[in-house]
């Protein structure tokens, strides 16, 4: 008699096996964090139906069951191990098991050396991820499976983390992509995440078995795995219960008295010890005072009287659509707050229709739209103005507090904070890589426990000991909550803890504030999330200051847009009339662009057969732009220069070079060096999503930066071209430009060749040369490289190497100098033509369009010139910094910041590109900010990763231009 329990992060699975290992009882239920109760219930059912189980061997598996097993002194079996045991016992020859759970993803390789992989701290690509995505599409995972079967095309969606996936999906929906296609794309994203995160160099082939909830319930997901891996996997009977069965099979302990156990569960709960924070409200009185204080900041609601003039503001946000109609006094005539459901056009249309039917005689004087869906809505309804969100929110906040100096807006999945200085937006903080401080974060947890987010957060208002969850990513938060559950925290205390952590995330992860005074004295909070009293209270407690929350906190974007349109009204509004609205038509078509090699999937929206909006484009080619695109772009210039160093045949063998990381700068050097010696050169293909996917199965560390991950694809590309010799040297040091304290490369740039050698099996078949090379000592270089070439390639003369090295250094310096001269020239021309200049700071490999996602072009489309950090850094001499300035690439960044700080020209500004996962940038960004801000300049940072969403980038750029008076 054996009972196996599998306590997953969201569900509890239980099996009871008789002495012949036949299942006599099985159950699968969501536990909503009430683990002990549910276990006790299931055990009760077993003993009732099968009295012989009152004495049975009981074992527990699953990370959420660890605490339970400890408390009741039961045998704990690690769940992956349990799976392995069950599979070996129950199934025939199996090579690979793929198991997806609520928050876990696992791959087991059973043949040729058992290996077990489970996801680390990342929950991307798990059941929780699928749930999150389904709720974004406003359907159940099963419905998502249903419609995915009808998909026609697959979009690329970042799958590393729900946060990134969301920011890929939302624009797709906003641009009118079909839900069926998005649903299928989500499944493929899960597959990619599982493969890239867990396979780590091993191919998934042979007999594949699918286990766990998502794979059992979603045939379309299985299909996505089958198609991607080119296998035919099976989902065995009782696929949900394998862990529970495995736990039972591997149990070694003595039988437990089940009845007694049920009794003791009833008596005591688990420890109840966990770190806690201060309660939000001690009593009803405190809460009442709080409500009274905040009840004062209101906007008057009126009906339209004699004056029929109105102003309309629409905020088409990522998860909600807000709309406000005001009269000339700024009083609210009509408003709506609607969940986005991925159909902003329909929602706005309903809103306008409703308004027109309520006030048929209203006269729209002016209108403005803001938010993610700005362009779409602007085109759909002929809205007069499109304005950037930051401006809309600032306009609204001023209405409540004219001396406002800090605004924080927490919406569904974005946080916007900005400082106001001299009546202009000065410093903007946006959450680009993290949505953990946002409303959807609470929503996700609330719905996991079966509450609405309002009900859920109310639970926490009077919690006595809110769980201290700290500040961290949503994905990590899942496991913290799991820990809290294990420690016996009540749902009330978890709710309060989550509200507090939303605030902490906003403060410490997004704004990175050290204390309240740093924020400002007159703080206005907005966004739907602040309508939540628990969050507002936590915010005030955390910063130790009272803030202003307008009663229309959720509407502020729309309200601000309306106010702005009023202040900037033209003679006649273009806004859609009631007649036009009646005949409103909206059709969506998907086409491949074909304008360039990107082959963007365009969604073409047509309104009333005439007005068009095109989405999904990475560049402005398919759309007409209103601003004149600036021609001065050093990124383009560099790319043109590098084109010169193309594939060549030589008299000696041909050497393959990987076009990634430092090769973007050293190509002139190595290309010249090898061709001078008579070698041929083959370059790997340009980076692309496909190239990345082709190499992702060999990536050993899923948290390394995207540029490094891309290298695996570049290797595949060279191998496909039949290259037999690859040269990719390790380089601890870079060339010393005398700007810093040392001239290192970062560890990833320096040593990634080692990773490729050890993880890409195919490299064993060819000559992969990754010797350590020091370009920083030109004199020593000759002798050292001579030896490497003779040892690893062919015999060449020392003289020839010396000559080639001289040429190579010359070529390298020539290239760097050209960039410098052209950069200065662009800046001069820009000044003359009154064009703003953005010094787009990054590292040489940010030239890669797959890495920069066309941000350089985007800036040019905004009408600004783009110059790089290495174009201006030669103008700066070494200066003291507050950090150890020891990396060549980063010394240039500090120098560029210094240049801009010294220059004091409002039209020359810094935008820094930061790669997600770049540990070095954690140091550089703060230093860049302090160099710039110490001289009153604005610092703008853009985080880039696999995501290709340019929405947030645009907000930053437009706000920057708005702040500099452009």
């Amino acid at each position: 008699m054996k009972i196996g329990m599998d306590v997953g992060s969201t569900t509890l699975k239980c099996v009871a096996l008789d002495d012949n290992n036949n299942i006599v009882y099985k159950a699968y239920e969501r536990h909503y964090s009430k683990i002990a109760e549910l276990i006790s219930k299931m055990l009760g059912e077993i003993t009732e139906k099968h009295p012989e189980f009152s004495e049975a061997v009981l074992s527990v598996a699953g990370s959420a069951g660890m605490g339970f097993a400890q408390t009741y002194n039961l045998e704990f079996v690690q769940e992956v191990y349990a799976t392995k045991v069950a599979v070996s016992k129950l199934l025939g020859k199996t090579d690979v098991v793929i198991e997806l759970g609520g928050e876990d993803a696992k791959i087991l390789f059973l043949t040729n050396g058992t290996e077990v992989r489970m996801n680390g701290s990342c929950a991307g690509g798990t059941g929780a991820f699928i749930d999150q995505m389904a709720s974004l599409l406003e359907m159940s995972p099963l419905d998502m499976n249903e419609i995915a079967g009808r998909s026609e095309k697959i979009y690329s969606i970042a799958s590393r983390c729900g946060v990134f996936a969301k920011s890929d999906i939302q624009p797709l929906l906003n641009q009118g992509a079909k839900k069926s296609d998005v649903a299928a794309s989500i499944f493929y994203a899960v597959v990619n995440q599982t493969v890239s995160g867990l396979a780590q160099g091993r191919r998934i082939e042979g007999n594949v078995v699918y286990l766990g909830g998502p794979l059992s319930f979603l045939p379309e997901l299985r299909k996505a795995f089958d198609n991607t891996l080119n296998v035919k996997g099976v989902c065995p009977e009782n696929g949900l219960y394998f862990v529970a069965m495995g736990a039972a099979f591997s149990a070694k302990s003595k039988p437990t008295d089940i009845k007694k156990l049920i009794e003791s569960i009833g008596e005591g709960r688990v420890s109840g010890e966990y770190p806690s924070a201060k309660p939000l409200f001690l009593n009803e009185k405190e809460y009442a005072d709080f409500l009274e204080r905040h009840g004062k900041n209101t906007v008057k609601n009126v009906t339209l009287a004699e004056d029929k003039n109105v102003y309309i503001g629409i905020d088409a946000g990522s998860t909600t659509v807000k709309a406000a109609v005001i009269n000339k006094n700024g009083e609210l005539v009509f408003s709506r707050y609607m969940p986005n459901s991925g159909e902003p056009v329909r929602l706005v249309r309903e809103f306008i229709g409703e308004f027109y039917s309520l006030y048929p005689d209203a006269k729209v004087v002016s209108s403005a739209v803001t938010g993610y869906g700005e362009e779409l809505i602007k085109n759909a309804f002929a809205v007069d103005f499109g304005i950037v969100e930051t401006v809309a929110h600032f306009t609204a906040a001023k209405k409540f507090k004219p001396e406002v100096d800090f605004i924080i807006d927490i919406g569904g999945q974005d946080i916007k904070c900005f400082k106001i200085r001299n009546n202009a937006i000065d410093n903007i903080f946006l959450n680009e890589a993290c949505s953990s401080g946002c409303g959807s974060f609470l929503q996700t947890f609330a719905s996991a426990w079966g509450y609405t987010s309002e009900e859920f957060s109310k639970l926490g208002l009077f919690a006595d000991r809110p769980v201290d969850l700290g500040s961290r990513c949503t994905v990590f938060m899942n496991s913290s909550v799991k820990q809290a559950q294990k420690d016996g925290a009540s749902i009330q205390n978890i709710s309060a803890g989550l509200s507090i952590s939303v605030v902490k995330n906003a403060l410490y992860k997004v704004i990175r504030a050290a204390n309240a005074d740093e924020l400002g004295k007159n703080i206005v909070v907005q966004g739907g999330t602040f309508l939540n009293d628990a969050v507002l209270r936590a915010f005030e407690q955390e910063i130790g200051r009272d803030v202003i929350r307008p009663d229309i906190a959720g509407l502020m974007g729309a309200y601000g847009a309306a106010l702005w349109s009023k202040e900037n009204a033209a003679d006649k509004s273009t806004f859609i009339t009631p007649q036009e609205l009646e005949s409103f038509e909206h059709t969506v078509q998907t086409v491949a662009c074909g304008g360039c090699s990107n082959n963007c999937q365009l969604t073409v929206n047509t309104f009333n057969g005439t007005r068009k909006f095109i989405g999904g484009n990475k560049c402005s080619k398919p759309v007409r732009s209103t601003v004149k695109t600036c021609e001065y772009n050093i990124y383009d210039y560099k790319r043109t220069l590098l084109e010169k160093y193309s594939d060549t045949k030589g008299t000696r063998r041909t050497i393959g070079l990987l076009m990634e990381l430092n090769m973007f700068e050293l190509l002139p050097f190595w290309h010249t060096f090898f061709t001078e010696l008579g070698f041929g050169i083959t370059l790997s293909d340009k980076s692309s999503r496909e190239l990345y996917v082709s190499g992702q199965h060999t990536i050993p560390s899923d948290t390394v930066c995207y540029p490094a991950k891309l290298l695996h694809g570049h290797v595949e590309s060279l191998l496909n071209k039949g290259v037999r010799d690859i040269f990719y040297p390790c380089m601890s040091y870079n060339i010393d430009e005398k700007l810093g304290d040392n001239n290192y490369n970062c560890p990833v740039v320096a040593y990634y060749p080692e990773v490729l050698r050890s993880n890409v099996t195919a490299l064993k078949e060819i000559n992969f040369v990754s010797d350590y090379v020091g370009l920083h000592r030109p004199k020593d270089f000759v002798g050292k490289i001579h030896k490497i070439i003779c040892d690893k390639f062919e015999n060449v003369g020392l003289d020839a190497v010396k000559k080639a090295a001289d040429k190579a250094y010359e070529e390298y310096h020539l290239y760097m100098n050209k960039v410098h001269i052209e950069g200065l020239d662009f800046m001069k021309k820009a000044k003359k033509e009154n064009i703003p200049v953005i010094i787009l700071c990054g590292r040489p490999y940010h030239l890669d369009e797959e890495i920069n996602h066309g941000i350089d072009k985007l800036i040019c489309e905004c009408g600004a010139a783009v110059v790089t950090e290495d174009a201006v850094s030669p103008l700066v001499s070494k200066f003291p910094t507050d950090v150890l300035d020891q990396w060549t690439y980063h010394s240039r960044l500090y120098a560029a910041a210094k240049y801009v700080a010294d220059k004091q020209d409002n039209d020359i500004n810094i935008v820094q590109l930061v790669s997600f996962g770049c540990g070095v940038d954690a140091i550089t960004t703060d230093e860049m900010r302090s160099i710039l801000e110490s001289r009153g300049r604005i610092y703008t940072q853009i985080k880039i990763d696999e995501i290709s969403n340019t929405g947030a980038v645009k907000i930053r750029l437009r706000s920057l231009f708005a702040a500099t008076g452009r």
Partner: protein, 414 residues
């Protein structure tokens, strides 16, 4: 580095309390006694808990490596505690050089102190490369020698303790012996004894003997090795009491010592000259240093093998030779190739079940840790390595679950 922003620790500050973060318990306990002997009022910080992490999160960029965040959080939390006069307190932090972010800890600490309103607190850099100097804190030759000896003693005691404690018959006996040796060694140092080569040659085997004398019962246990980023590898604060957890799972744990790291850091200079060229004089100086350190290493290993049947670590030269077959000796940032080498050495000495501990997003460990696991699996199919990431967000329950998986597989092979 901006010299204007640095508060120096001057001669006038001799009466200050100096706070230092803890790392490897045994080593640091002896080391602190050495500093005290020279008149510095040092205090090894053991404060932990959420407040430490929170202070770190507040004052350090959240994507900075976890060790920086913890060490800085711990120091600021201590200043906040009210236990110390903040105008008469200095901080001590180790400073390495090299291309890893770790070289920046001291600068991040100063930034954080200014942000937290403790700009007046001087920070002393403890380094062997002459990075920063303080007129009030000088490493006298005898003090340096004692510090080095503290390290050697620490390595030996840790090695022996780990091999005896899991099997001791009388619970607590091993730990009592550890405490006794820490006290004895510190007392000897005070009398200017115990740190010469000659004396150590005598005392080290005595230590081994005393551990060999402890009554043990050798039951088969899973043997687990721990490698990783140096701070996370040793510090219980950073690794959620990793060693204790492994022991609680009825396992023996082996943590490679600190001397290897010193050999590695010294050897790197020679390796640099070999690979890229460099000054003759530096080469000679470093060759001498290597010769000296290796002599000490031999002494340490001989002592460890003098009594009982303890597992003695392989010499540095040996593991380097083995390891450079799979990764270049020029890979030197952070723990560099040494980390890979330690894993190989552990596997070969029967500690093939390995926890590779690193801060989340640790740059060098993408290469030398996670990046090499596959290769090691190829070379040693019996190896069973689990990489575990540590950061403010990672939870104990997840980390322990992963380690338990590794242990379940190990148990099967036992």
């Amino acid at each position: 580095m901006n010299p204007e922003n640095r508060v120096e620790f001057t001669k006038e500050m001799q009466d200050y309390t100096i706070l230092a973060p803890n790392m490897a318990d045994i080593h640091f306990s002896i080391l602190m006694n050495v500093l005290r002997e020279y008149g510095y009022n040092v205090k090894l910080l053991k404060n932990d808990g959420r407040a430490v992490v929170d202070e770190g999160l507040k004052y350090v960029h959240n994507d900075t490596c976890y060790p920086a965040l913890l060490v800085i959080g711990q120091l600021i939390d201590a200043l906040n505690s009210g236990k110390y006069d903040v105008n008469k307190t200095a901080l001590l932090i180790t400073q390495s050089g090299g291309g890893c972010r770790a070289s920046n800890y001291i600068h991040l600490l100063r930034k954080a102190l200014r942000k937290a309103g403790y700009g007046q607190v001087p920070v002393i850099s403890l380094n062997l490369s002459g990075l920063e100097k303080n007129s009030g804190f000088k490493l006298k030759p005898s003090m340096a020698l004692k510090a080095l000896s503290a390290l050697i003693y620490g390595d030996l005691i840790m090695l022996l303790k780990n091999q005896v404690e899991p099997y001791e018959v009388n619970k607590g006996e091993t730990n009592r012996l550890v405490d006794k040796w820490i006290a004895d060694i510190s007392a000897m140092f005070k009398q200017k004894k115990g740190y010469s080569m000659r004396e150590m040659k005598r005392i080290l085997p005595e230590i081994t003997k005393s551990f060999a004398d402890i009554k043990v019962e050798k039951v088969p246990k899973v043997k687990v090795g721990v490698v990783g980023e140096i701070y996370v590898k040793y510090s219980p604060l950073a690794n959620n009491n990793l060693e204790d957890f492994i022991k609680s799972q009825n396992c023996e744990v082996m943590v490679p010592g600190l001397l290897g790291f010193f050999l590695f850091k010294t050897d790197n200079r020679l390796e640099d000259i070999k690979l890229y060229g460099g000054k003759k004089l530096k080469k000679i100086a470093m060759t001498v240093a290597m010769w000296y350190l290796q002599k000490i290493e031999t002494m340490l290993n001989t002592a460890a093998g003098a009594h009982g049947d303890f597992c003695v670590p392989a010499p540095y030269a040996h593991i380097k030779e083995k390891c450079t077959a799979i990764i270049g000796a020029g890979c030197k940032m952070g723990e560099g190739w040494l980390l890979t080498a330690e894993m190989m050495e552990l596997i070969e000495s029967g500690y093939g079940n390995i926890v590779c501990a690193q801060p989340f997003g640790c740059l060098p460990n993408h290469i030398v840790g996670k990046g090499m696991i596959r290769k090691l699996k190829e070379l040693y199919p019996q190896s069973n390595i689990v990489p575990v990431d540590y950061d403010p967000g990672a939870t104990k329950v997840n980390q322990e679950n992963r380690i338990k998986l590794m242990l379940a597989i190990a148990q099967e092979a036992l």
